[in-house]
């Protein structure tokens, strides 16, 4: 496995990261919205800079969990670097945040 492949995206390991990332996204969104409301800004508006910071924080937490469980070694043994393995989650974060802002 040299990069993002269908095998990786369909794997149960990636799906487990997806589930954890969704929970982190919800937590991040609540914190972001609360901060925005406190600053009298639209709570669910899409602000790219803020989204980038929140997304980086979510990924940092997820990476900490993965490293703590030594699963980065599992990914390494199949030739997958962590940034590559988790790249789809960045797209997911921005897609969800944008969709929510359009719905709000």
């Amino acid at each position: 496995m040299t990069g993002i492949t269908v095998v990786w995206l369909r794997s149960r390991l990636f799906r487990s990261y997806l589930r954890r990332f969704l929970l982190l996204w919800i937590a991040g969104k609540i914190a972001n919205a609360a901060t925005a409301a406190f600053l009298k800004l639209p709570p669910l508006a899409f602000r790219p800079g803020t989204e980038l910071v929140v997304c980086a924080f979510e990924l940092a937490v997820l990476v900490a969990f993965i490293r703590r469980a030594n699963e980065d070694i599992l990914l390494g043994n199949i030739g997958l670097r962590l940034p590559v393995a988790l790249a789809p989650l960045v797209l997911l974060h921005f897609a969800l945040s944008l969709a929510l802002s359009l719905l709000a």
Binding site: R12, L13, A69, I73, G76, N77, L80
Partner: protein
């Protein structure tokens, strides 16, 4: 083939590795022996790019690897087994084999009975065998293992030793670290002894009688 050449590491002013050298040879089981804390794990961490050395280099097939990483070397044929569990505990053994796109290789390690169980529910021995079965299935050109026998009961030790021999017979360059004289004596084709951060190749280890092993042991 992987090699660590003139590897030097200091931590807090203390030299952990001093111009250490180790390599692995295709079709042979090479063992790095040394007491606990001698720097074996540090040397392995450097070989797979999990730690940067102060000096020295990692070579793959004789060529310097400027920035080694496990993923990069795995794509070239490395399998790395650290001294701790590295499988995703919520997934089953079968999920792990699906992830690498292979099936257990002839079930040399007898993992079939627990393929459907989450690996977090396996015993330490079953977990280790599952990890090594994945390594076998990956058909690596180099296998790097940190204390593969640690904490195993005799039955599982025999299976792990057989797996290492099977890898070597298939042409894999096997390099593992250990400090148990009996395990090493039964499996080693080549031996590097590590003392005070430096390594030396012990010639003719297969022919040595047991008392000489104990005499030469770096403890």
């Amino acid at each position: 083939m992987i090699a660590g050449d003139s590897i030097t590491v200091s931590l807090g002013g203390r030299a952990i590795l001093q111009s250490a050298f180790v390599d692995a040879v295709p079709g042979k089981i090479t063992v790095l022996v040394g007491r606990s804390g001698a720097g074996k794990t540090t040397l392995f961490d450097i070989l797979v790019g999990r730690r940067r050395p102060d000096g020295g280099q990692v070579r793959w097939n004789g060529e310097r690897v400027p920035q080694p990483s496990l993923a990069l070397l795995a794509r070239r044929g490395l399998f790395y087994h650290p001294d701790r569990s590295w499988l995703a505990l919520s997934l089953t053994a079968a999920d792990h084999f699906a992830l690498i796109g292979r099936s257990p290789d002839g079930d040399a390690l007898g993992v079939t009975p627990w393929l459907g169980r989450p690996v977090g529910t396996l015993s330490g021995g079953e977990l280790r065998l599952t990890e090594l079965a994945l390594g076998l299935a990956l058909a690596p050109t180099v296998a790097l293992l940190d204390e593969p026998f640690r904490g195993l009961e005799p039955r599982h030790r025999e299976q792990v030793a057989a797996a290492l021999r099977l890898l070597a017979e298939r042409g894999t360059a096997v390099l593992y670290a250990d400090h148990d004289v009996e395990s090493v004596r039964r499996t080693a084709d080549r031996l590097f002894s590590m003392e005070q951060g430096a390594t030396r190749l012990v010639e003719g280890c297969r022919e040595r009688p047991l008392h000489e092993w104990y005499h030469a042991w770096p403890m």
